[in-house]
């Protein structure tokens, strides 16, 4: 693998430090289907199907602390609510409900921004 070592990226008039680009990218992302199978992902070692509507995504490379930003959305489904129900430096849990509040199995998209350990 070859490396391009630069401290700034510029379009000719505006420049930004490469640290902002690297540190600003998602540290974890994943999409899992209704059975918990990971359709695509990055920095995820495995997904635990904890029950109806409950998923835990385990990270390969841990986050520095639990103040990271985590977003979970439905994967190819509507009329659902998603929530981050738990977080540690090594995993994040999601909860999927119908709009009436009943747990439901749906695909889950997860993205996490924050600092790595």
């Amino acid at each position: 693998m070859s490396n391009l070592v630069v401290s700034n990226i510029s379009d000719g008039s505006t420049s930004v430090g490469t640290g902002y680009v690297v540190n600003g990218s998602a540290k974890v992302f994943a999409a899992s289907d209704t059975q918990g199978t990971v359709v695509y992902g990055f920095n995820v070692s495995g997904v635990v199907d904890d029950g109806i509507g409950q998923r835990t995504f385990n990270f390969i490379s841990a986050l520095a602390d639990t103040t990271y930003s985590a977003v979970s959305t439905p994967f190819a489904s509507t009329g659902m609510t998603h929530a981050i129900s738990g977080r540690t430096t090594t995993s994040a849990s999601t909860d999927t409900d119908t709009n009436s509040g009943t747990s439901a199995d749906r695909g889950v998209l997860l993205a996490i921004h924050g600092d790595l350990a």
């Binding site: 693998m1 841990a62 520095a64 790595l116």
Partner: protein, 140 residues
């Protein structure tokens, strides 16, 4: 100097085809006796990295990092990567990494609470998902 694990994962994702495992790990957490059996599904990119070698850190670095407080430097990101694993070895590694030690190491009871099974043994009908338990007759 060893590259950060996250950087190694980026490079690996660009060159390795994902590998869907033919196994799933069923487990019951003895600290949550009323919870249904959980199913651990390996990530296909992680499995590809495990089979390729030279990317993932030794499992004992993860186990030691469990005791490191949040915000403190962890050992696993910069640990020297290990070599290629078979799929079976990778699943054992994943059990130790992603399942609590009270399930795979500390449990002293008679009940089978962890079982590695082929994918087809996981029911596709999820009508009674929250009542799933490990079949003790099949696990014996």
């Amino acid at each position: 100097m060893t590259q950060h694990l996250w950087t190694r994962l980026l490079e690996a994702k660009s060159r390795l085809a994902p590998v869907q495992s033919k196994y799933r790990v069923l487990f019951e957490d003895p600290s949550q006796p009323d919870a249904p059996a959980a199913v651990l599904v390996p990530d296909p990119n992680w499995m590809a990295a495990a089979l390729a070698g030279g990317i993932l850190p030794p499992i004992d670095t993860y186990l030691r990092d469990r005791d490191v407080p949040d915000g403190q430097p962890k050992e696993h990101p910069y640990a020297e990567p290990i070599g290629a694993m078979t799929e079976e070895e990778a699943i054992e590694y994943l059990v130790m990494k992603d399942i609590p030690p009270q399930v795979w190491r500390d449990y002293k009871g008679n009940r089978a609470i962890l079982k590695i099974v082929p994918v087809h043994m996981i029911p596709s009908d999820r009508s009674y998902r929250n009542a799933w338990k490990i079949n003790q007759e099949m696990a014996a």
